[in-house]
């Protein structure tokens, strides 16, 4: 645990600073902020396919994960999760249930993958635009901080930047390696 927090702190400080500086590409703070703002709205920076019929099997590349992923709160990538599992209501670990919309913004956790003993950055996106409950809730919230560090704030709705607000469940996307 201590090591993960250390890693997390490192990522929040120098490492993240370095990386974001690289992304910013030296084109000025204001320009970077605009880009970052866009990236944020675009959803966890990564290209987001609108629909996916792979049943969530298209992931786990390079993570050394088993074929069958666990569905309980103790699954490693749920370390900072605060929400209900989309895998229990028609989605998967990385897929929103049919008819719901991934949140444009997310909070982030740093979780230790027991399969390769490395720390990964995990983006926790809410699936939005659908009423009703999903499955069991998880509240591990490791690394959670109040809104003064909003990017780590698991107590916020993350459908807040979507037009359709209804929070249905939460997915956990491995978006990077923590150094």
């Amino acid at each position: 645990m201590a090591k993960m927090i250390d890693s997390f702190l490192g990522w929040m400080d120098a490492a993240a600073e370095n990386r974001t500086r690289r992304i910013a590409d030296g084109s000025g703070r204001r320009s970077f902020l605009q880009k970052a703002g866009w990236a944020l709205v675009g959803g966890a920076v990564l290209p987001m396919l609108p629909y996916d019929n792979s049943n969530g099997q298209a992931f786990a590349r390079g993570l050394g994960e088993p074929d069958e992923l666990p569905e309980d709160c103790e699954y490693w990538r749920y370390c900072s999760l605060h929400g209900s599992l989309c895998s229990q209501c028609g989605g998967s670990v990385t897929q929103c249930p049919p008819g719901s919309t991934p949140s444009k913004v997310a909070w982030v956790g740093t979780c230790r993958n027991p399969n390769d003993d490395k720390d990964y950055l995990v983006s926790y996106n809410d699936c939005c635009g659908k009423g009703g409950s999903c499955g069991d809730g998880c509240s591990r919230q490791e690394g959670d901080r109040p809104g003064y560090r909003y990017g780590l704030a698991s107590e916020s709705s993350w459908c807040l930047a979507n037009t359709d607000k209804g929070i249905h469940c939460t997915v956990a996307i491995v978006v990077g390696q923590a150094e």
Binding site: W11, R19, F32, L33, A36, R61, C96, G132, G176
Partner: protein, 387 residues
């Protein structure tokens, strides 16, 4: 160092603060970041639908479970106090509900929504008169015409009427007054339906092909609403309509010829010790292949106990007028059985917030035992099974 920040600059800063963690990803070559998607379609296969009505100012939900193992596959959501049905082939779902923008004050609107089941998406929303029955759901409160071109929606203000919706055009064709009558039981041919009336008769409404006009016929007295009141719940048996009373009397009715006729009344609890009565909401479900009626029942039934949960589910052979088996399935308030030779029975419990699947053995007098379950959050009284 006092300073005045411009709003624009401040907002951008804040976004950066929020997204810095998100924008950071690894440079490691072997790692490929995952992508976030929405699943395009539910997994195929037969489904169980449970309509969870929201009475607290929030969204109602049609939850969709695999009929195989009750895995939750998806859901569709609408407004408050929903009524719900599906097309015969299970590919389309319909929900009539109310939206009250201020929840607790002011005006609202009532709508009929049409959903594509496979993708769990809303495909059409049709405004309907602001008269929708705000009533515990029963399958009889939202029904389709025999050819599934019209929807019939129960109104209650508390004056009762039925809104007729042309589904292709997406518009209301008329409001059929049905004073003192309630429940919608569509005819098997043509555009029309029957309704239960306050004097124990039924009225049958036959509509024109365009849904714009109607003629009605009232039946003889079918039941005594004081002494032997029937539930709204109903199912078809070889083309006839089945109802059941609080006291466990099965009314078999014909609706051919544009008017309801009573064919038989069968007391299923006669001769059974313990003062048994019917117990639940969706209490009438019939397996066609074997002619077996499944009914949630409770002993020592009394005035006011008719919506309580079951103690047992009875398998009653309606062709041979014989009680075959009393399965000890407690706390159920709704049951639905498939029509095949090997019936599959589903039920749910408000007390336990659970939907259940039961295996029924035709060789063991249609005894039922639980084989799967899944939690259902909220208030539900109806369920349906699709092919």
């Amino acid at each position: 160092m006092a300073k005045t920040l411009s709003a624009t600059f401040g907002l951008l800063c804040a976004i950066a603060g929020a997204c810095a963690p998100v924008t950071a990803f690894a440079q490691d070559d072997e790692f490929v970041p995952e992508t976030l998607t929405a699943k395009a379609e539910m997994d195929p296969g037969p489904n169980v639908f449970v309509n969870v009505q929201n009475w607290s100012g929030g969204p109602s939900v049609g939850y969709i479970y695999s009929a195989e193992d009750l895995t939750r596959k998806g859901s569709v959501s609408g407004g408050s106090q929903s009524h719900f049905t599906i097309s015969r082939d299970g590919t389309t779902a319909y929900m009539a509900s109310g939206y009250y923008p201020r929840y607790d004050s002011g005006d609202g609107e009532h709508v009929l929504q049409i959903f594509d089941v496979a993708t769990n998406t809303l495909t059409k929303e049709i405004p309907i008169p602001y008269k929708l029955a705000q009533y515990t759901d029963d399958l009889s409160l939202l029904q389709l015409s025999a050819d599934e071109t019209f929807a019939f929606v129960q109104n209650g203000t508390p004056a009762t009427s039925v809104t007729v919706v042309d589904l292709a055009k997406g518009e209301v064709t008329q409001e059929v007054p049905s004073p003192g009558c309630f429940g919608i039981y569509p005819l098997l041919e043509g555009i029309g339906f029957s309704a239960i009336c306050n004097d124990g008769a039924f009225t049958t409404f036959v509509l024109s092909d365009d849904g714009a006009t109607f003629e009605s016929q009232k039946s003889q007295t079918i039941f005594d609403p004081d002494a032997d009141p029937i539930y709204l719940s109903s199912d078809r048996a070889e083309g006839d309509l089945l109802f059941i009373s609080y006291h466990g009397n099965v009314y078999r009715l014909s609706d051919t010829g544009g008017v309801i006729k009573k064919l038989s009344v069968t007391p299923i609890a006669d001769g059974v010790e313990g003062n048994w009565g019917t117990s639940g909401y969706t209490v009438v479900t019939y397996n066609e292949a074997n002619g077996i009626l499944f009914v949630p029942m409770a002993s020592e039934h009394h005035d006011g106990s008719h919506y309580h949960g079951s103690e047992e589910v009875w398998a009653y052979d309606l062709r041979n007028k014989a009680l075959l088996y009393r399965s000890p399935l407690a706390d159920l308030v709704g049951v639905a059985v498939t029509d095949g030779a090997e019936p599959e029975l589903y039920g749910f419990s408000l007390k336990n917030s659970m939907v259940y699947k039961f295996e029924v053995d035709p060789l063991a007098r249609f005894a039922a035992k639980q084989v799967a379950e899944h939690s259902v959050d909220g208030f539900a009284t109806t369920l349906m099974v699709s092919p």
